[in-house]
């Protein structure tokens, strides 16, 4: 982790002085070394030789565990939404001896398995915020106590509402996205894990560890039936979030000033108008 490139400490990536990590790693303690002529561009120059106005063009934002978690989580949500819908509205199995088929049993098994993978992955992702790079905790900790941050949320909201012409550039989540992510993904996801484990504990029994750990959820909302209804509504919240999330990613990729979709694949955030 310590070898990962670091963004400037002041949180502004567009500062006049170039960040250290763009200094060639090959420079053996000398600030005067210049990259080979054919490779001479913008980012390979030592600080003091960089032309005025040069800007970094790519920053490593999503480290490998974050990207791996994102895709595992996405797959789990797809599987969970489909199997969850089928548990509430089960398809009919062929008639005949009940012991010969296990359609509902298999759907539920897949749901429970995917749910527990999602739960463990979410927990691991949470722990990673203490070990990952400086962007790793953005998902869980939107700085809602900062006035400046809310101003940025408002600015981004205006950009999405076509009220400003040019968007800003953000290395991590833009504040509006971070807020949406926290309110419509992190919180619902935590609720789905807690309620899902509580509903699962009804099957494992009142003397199981699942019931000891999550059974309180069964009574928090009055009765298990209500919790089941809320769990079902939670699925729709996550489905709608996914639709918005995918659209926002495409929208940002096409019309913002930084890369989005390729970033969650490679980890690198590109700022396409920096080099001009």
């Amino acid at each position: 982790m310590s070898t990962l490139p670091r963004a400037p400490a002041d949180g502004l990536h567009e500062s006049a002085s170039a960040p250290d990590f763009l200094t060639p790693a090959t420079a053996p303690g000398s600030a005067g070394v210049v990259a080979p002529k054919d490779l001479r561009g913008v980012a390979d120059l030592p600080t003091d030789e960089r032309p005025v106005g040069a800007k970094q063009t790519a920053i490593y934002v999503y480290d490998m565990p974050v990207r791996a978690w994102h895709w595992v989580n996405a797959l789990c949500i797809v599987v969970l939404a489909i199997t969850g819908y089928l548990i509430a509205n089960p398809p009919a199995a062929a008639p005949g001896e009940a012991f010969e088929r296990s359609l509902m049993g298999n759907i539920r098994l897949i749901h429970f398995t995917a749910g527990q993978i999602l739960a463990i992955a979410l927990l691991a992702r949470f722990v990673w915020m203490f070990f990952g790079n400086r962007y790793a905790h953005q998902l869980f900790c939107p700085p809602i106590w900062r006035r400046q941050w809310w101003a940025e949320v408002w600015f981004e909201a205006k950009w999405y509402a076509f009220l400003v012409r040019d968007p800003k550039k953000y290395i991590g989540h833009n504040p509006f996205a971070a807020l949406m992510m926290f309110a419509f993904f992190v919180l619902p996801c935590v609720f789905m894990v807690l309620s899902g484990m509580a509903l699962y504990s009804m099957g494992t029994g009142v003397d199981s560890w699942q019931h000891a750990a999550f059974g309180w959820m069964l009574t928090l909302f009055g009765n298990p039936m209500t919790l089941q209804t809320l769990h079902h509504l939670g699925m729709w919240v996550l489905v709608i979030f996914s639709i918005l999330h995918i659209y926002a990613a495409i929208h940002e990729e096409m019309w913002s000033r930084q890369s989005m979709i390729s970033t969650i694949v490679s980890g690198w955030r590109m700022f396409r108008d920096n080099a001009r």
Partner: protein, 372 residues
């Protein structure tokens, strides 16, 4: 004055033979799942312990709990009422009436302070100072607080006393309130159900009398021996659930074949009760066996989780009653339409305003989303 007789004294006085008494003890031990050895424990308890006085109060209720109770087969309610407990007050069953009946309440409270059981059927409505339920000429809530105040423990019979039931369903105009929210300083044993199973009711009483302690309760105050598993867990139609064989309507082939009633709204998977094991009317049947799904009558707020014939409870939102799927699908549709419009507008904007042309540099310096 009520004599402090032991159970055995009473039983023998009624002409029941020693042999019949032994049979009763064995049957009771078996019905509670205690095994042979405990028949002797029960017999010993009955021979040595004085009968526990029980004051049975009726608040806002329909008497279905009493109706169920008097049909108990193992043990017979006759044995419970006449031998095991001293049912000193039950305004539906007792012979005394009026002031004579009400006087018994005070008498027991003084004589057996802290040593009697208050069994409550129904609940007190708290709105208008309790005026929606008058018992013995005064608000029931006052009587309840008085009688429960000196009791050893309180039994909440049925869903009314345990959760509130139909009179507490939305919008609950009388503010009917379950017993445990009014009586907060005594152990309250909830025996929910609308009504509870007769054998569960007598089983709870027999346990308390026999072992002189309250049964182990779950987090919500229900005896674990009867409420630790769902109707679903012991349902004889469960194999059809796992297989995916469901009755789609009440008159289709699946219903005739006895398939799972999940899709016609069975609440068994979310209902903790002993129906599928103890069953009803001397173990003759229970709702699912009769071809009707469980309505979840022993769960909190089951009236508000209708309709009874749909797996997804209705969700009241924006003045419309709908279910989670219809709401979710409608919201997803609206969001998708909004996205299409937004995408179209974004494309138009891009055509009108090419990026990089005259972009203001003042917008370039930005937060990375997380100032540190």
């Amino acid at each position: 004055m009520l004599a402090r007789e032991t159970f055995y004294d009473v039983i023998r006085r009624q002409g029941i033979s020693r042999r019949s008494f032994a049979k009763f003890c064995t049957l009771t031990a078996a019905s509670m799942g205690l095994g042979e050895a405990h028949a002797a424990t029960i017999a010993h308890a009955m021979e040595t312990k004085p009968r526990i006085p029980v004051l049975w109060l009726h608040g806002l209720e329909c008497t279905c709990c009493s109706e169920s109770f008097i049909r108990s087969a193992h043990p017979l309610v006759r044995d419970v009422v006449l031998s095991m407990i001293s049912l000193d007050y039950n305004d539906t069953l007792m012979a005394a009436a009026g002031h004579q009946a009400e006087a018994i309440l005070d008498e027991i409270r003084e004589e057996y302070k802290g040593n009697y059981i208050a069994a409550v059927e129904g609940n007190p409505p708290l709105n208008e100072d309790g005026m929606y339920c008058i018992s013995g000429g005064r608000p029931f809530v006052e009587k309840l607080k008085e009688v429960c105040g000196d009791a050893k423990a309180v039994i909440s019979w049925g869903s009314c006393a345990s959760w509130g039931c139909v009179q507490a369903a939305r919008p609950n105009p009388t503010q009917a309130t379950p017993v445990h929210k009014v009586i907060t300083d005594k152990p309250v044993i909830k025996v929910p159900g609308c009504p509870p199973i007769a054998e569960v009711m007598t089983g709870v009483i027999t346990y308390i009398v026999t072992f002189d302690r309250l049964p182990t309760l779950d987090a919500q105050g229900r005896p674990l021996m009867f409420y630790s598993q769902r109707v679903h867990d012991k349902c004889y139609r469960r194999p059809h659930f796992n297989a995916g064989q469901f009755a789609e309507t009440f008159d289709d082939e699946g219903a005739r074949k006895g398939y799972c009633l999940y899709k016609v709204g069975c609440r068994g998977p979310t209902t903790y009760n002993a129906c599928s094991t103890v069953r009803w009317n001397e173990g003759v049947s229970f709702p699912i066996q009769s071809g009707h799904g469980c309505v979840g009558c022993s769960e909190d707020a089951f009236w508000d989780n209708g309709p009874f014939y749909d797996r997804l409870a209705k969700v009241g939102a924006f003045g419309i009653e709908s279910n989670a799927d219809r709401i979710g699908l409608a919201a997803a549709g609206v969001v998708t339409a909004g996205i299409a419009a937004h995408a179209a507008l974004s494309a138009v904007k891009r055509m009108v305003h090419k990026p990089g042309v005259g972009a203001e540099d003042k917008n370039l310096a930005s937060l990375d989303g997380e100032p540190k």
